[in-house]
Every structure is written in C-alpha cells, then in structure tokens.
Symmetry: D2
Subunit: 150 residues, 4 copies
C-alpha cells in the first residue's frame, strides 16, 4: 500500500518511540523489536519461535495482533507532541494466511491523524526464505492522552 507523508511535531519522535517500546515488557517477552521508525510509520518484527505457537504450529493470532497493535500505536505516537501518550481504543484484524516462516513483520501506518483520535492500518507479513507473505491486515483507532507521556 502507498504511504501518506507526515511531518513529525518534534525532532525526537523516533527516540520517544524507542523509549516507550523499551518499557513494554510484553514486547520483550515475545522477542519483538522495532525495525523501522518514520513519521507515521513503524515496523515491528517477532521471530516465529515455538513459544509463540498456537495448536497448529503457526504463530498465535494473539501475537500477530499484538505486534500489529503496537506497530500501529507507535505509528500514531510518532505524530503527536513530546508529552502525549497513546491508548488503543479498538482494533480489528483479519487473518489471511497461516503465520508460518521464520519471522513476522508488522507494518503500522497512520491513515488519518487527528487531534484526539488517529486511525491506523497494520499489515502483518511472514518471512520465509527471503519471501514475504501477507498473513493479516488490521485497522486500529488510537486515542491521544496528553497525560500519559508515551
């Protein structure tokens, strides 16, 4: 999908995203890491290890959703002010193919930024032997909370 082009509100937006991500214990628990931060765009990867599997041996939809949610949330956060925080209001995700392969990559992006609400999309791909496959696509509504800070 083509990406919109956004201007960040302050130069330290990427550092803020990295710091907040580092505070998410759960992202560490599943082995996730951020691999791309641009204004309104954040990618998060997770290795397709055994601990993350569901009963058929694919990565659990809860993991797919978690990285999609976080990628979208940080894409939104990257466009707000330095002191602003983000909460997920709601998300919807369609699972399109089994999440197999070596790792999953969630690509979150802002569709429509707003003063208090930002609507995002996140596509999740599995990587196997250098080939990527779309395994899920989601839409999320994020709310800015000035007091949350990250």
């Amino acid at each position: 999908m083509t990406e919109n082009s956004f201007e960040p509100r302050f130069t330290g937006y990427a550092e803020k995203v990295r710091n907040s991500f580092a505070d998410q214990h759960y992202m560490a628990h599943i082995g996730a890491r951020i691999t791309n931060i641009r204004p309104g765009v954040v990618d998060i990867e997770v290795p397709a290890v055994s601990e993350l599997e569901q009963q058929h041996g694919f990565v659990h939809g809860g993991v797919t959703t978690a990285i999609a949610d976080s990628a979208a949330g940080y894409a939104a956060l990257s466009l707000y002010d330095e002191g602003d925080g983000i909460l997920t209001v709601e998300l919807k995700i369609n699972f399109l193919a089994p999440a197999d392969g070596e790792k999953l990559i969630a690509r979150g992006q802002v569709i429509k930024p707003g003063r208090t609400l930002t609507v995002c999309r996140a596509d999740v791909f599995s990587m196997a032997g250098g080939k990527e496959k779309l395994v899920a696509t989601g839409m999320m509504t994020m709310a800015c909370r000035p007091s949350l800070k990250h």
Copy 2:
C-alpha cells in the same frame, strides 16, 4: 450478558478443548489456563504479571486480545464435531478500561453457531481484591476446518 444454551455434538467436547489448549505453546508462555468449559462457553485466565505489561504498567492489549480470541475460539470448537478444527477469520475488540488488577479473565461465548462459520463474543474482566471490572469486549468470526482436528 445472558447466554444461549447449546447442545454439544459429542460427549468428549471438553476434553478435546483441553487437549487443543495444551498444544498452544503461546498460552503457556503467557501463563494462561482454562477455568471453565461448557457447550459454547469457555473462560481463560491469565495472571497480570510484569512480563505481560505494556508501557503504562497495564496488561498489554495483545494479551487481552489473545485470551479473548482463544476463549471465543474454544467456545466455538466445543460445538463442532470431534474431527473438526477452528481458525479465527477475524476479530474486533474494544478496550474499555486499563487492564490492571491481579489477573484477567476472558469469557468467550458463541452468539451464532453455523455449519462453516461461528460468530462469538468475548468479554475480558480484570480481577482486583475480589472485584471484577470489564476491561474489553470483542466479537470474533471463527471458521470450521474439518481437516484441522483441533
């Protein structure tokens, strides 16, 4: 919410659900366990431990979604034939309050069973000092796959 009343198709439905759940490595990875299985109804709990937290110290929405998804999926599975498996087609979840407290409980239930598609709802509650609070509510579409077995 009031619950519909459903008839299972075979007597071993609860054991099948428990066996499939035991095969979900990811459920063990987050410390989740099944606490209730009835026809069309499954509850899953997870302790609100540090590894599952997001950046504000609450349980990550990906965990909330994972147990909601699994509770709903197993609620659906409980109404299918012995040899049938289940896949999540899509899910939508609204986050209503911070997921704090000692543990989370996802209560999945079937709203409309069908030959190939079953629509479910799952409410997620946090428990703190014996009091429960609704923290999320979701809707899921599950697909029956005869060849998957669980």
Copy 3:
C-alpha cells in the same frame, strides 16, 4: 443480553433524541422510526419493504447497519449533556441470518459510557409472524462533540 442501568444527565434526554432523529432525513427515507428510548437504550424499527432489498430479496446490509448505528448512537447520546452531540467513530457488524420478515428492529445499548468516547452494542432482529430472529450484531464507538448539539 442483560442491560446496564444508567442515569441520564438531564430530564429532557428522550425529547432531545427524538428531535435529533427527526432531523435525520435518511431515517425518514428508509421509513425508520424510534420505538423505545430509555437511558442508554434506544430501539429503531424499519419496515422490510421492497425499496430496501438487496439482490436476494432480503433487507440490504446497509439498512441493517444504518439502524444499528443510529440506535447505538442515540443510546450514547441519551447519556450526554443537553448541549452535546455524537459522531460515530467506527462500527463493526456481523450479519448472522438473512434479514427477511415484516420489519427489522435494532436495539442499541451503551456498554461503556465515557467522557469523550462511548462504546455501544446493537443487535438487529427481524420480525415475522410475531417471532423475532437475531439477524445481526454490532459494536460501535461513539465520540461526544460538545459543539454539535445533537
């Protein structure tokens, strides 16, 4: 489903809902009318006439969604202040059975009211010969806009 119990913020909440509904030309265009207003609960009916049909002779999903959305929106509006207005942020709906029969009834209710966002549910039933059937179930996020007034 069981209903939560809510207190309206001012006595004229039902009149405000009726007045706003009367301003929705589209509700008149499809023949919809409000049949129940209580704090946090609104029902809207529409006759299953030929103009509202899709290609298989059932009521179009767009109509089902429209009355579900409006019922949920007015359920939310009934709990806000006299000068507040409501916008739908997003909605999700599952179609469970063909929308046949003599009329459709959407029952909207508030699940979680909030200062700026209110999460609602709406079930839509078809009526045929005095019997009702659940044809759709949806979840909606509504935003309060103080300047919109209705």
Copy 4:
C-alpha cells in the same frame, strides 16, 4: 493504496456484477450507481442529496457503509465463478471526516481472495469541486455461496 492484480474466472464477470447490482432495489433507492468494474475492483457512487443526510447535514454513515459494503461485495463477486453468489459475513468501517460535498465514491477492492471467504477493503471519498477527500475506510469479509448465483 496500490491494487493487487487478479484474473477473472469467466469473461462475463462485469455483466454479472451489473445485473446483480440492478437487482438491488436499495441501491436505486439511494441513487447509487456503479462507475467502475475491473477484476477485484468495483466503484460505486451516490449523490449527496438531502434524503441521505443525518442530523448534521452530512451523508448518513449508513449510506457510506452501504456503498462501501456493496463495492467490496461486487469486487469479491467479480473473482468467483459464474454461478456463485456472495454474502457479507461482517464489515468494519471507520468514519474519518464529514461526508459532505456533491457525491460519495466507494472504491472496493479484494485484498485476499479465497475459495469460500474473500477479504476486501473499501475506501469512501467525498467529491467537492473536483477535489476528493477520504471520508471512511472499511474492511469486509465476504462468503461465497454457490447456490445464490449473484
């Protein structure tokens, strides 16, 4: 957004879509017409007339959703066999901006075709003075029903 490229299964796919659309009384009732049919892609327009308004004078979200749903459904139908029909399993839509202007255009497209389920996206734009604005974006799950024929 960039579009996937799909092969139709028979040459008369566009005529089939037009014939089915002509059977949707509700599409005529709101003044909608198809303006583009390609494999996996269908556009539907509706004039922003007074009968379609909600209480603030914008096009009702139910109309926006109806054309998004139909555009996505016909995008899916265009990729199935001559004798196949389509039903909407569920849809989710985010409303991004007021639906004002002279007309609305829903652009439906297939994201992931499947044997029984097809996942689609639909963006809805308003047109005012030759300029288009994104007013809503949605995701839909469509089910193929071989016996429905359109």
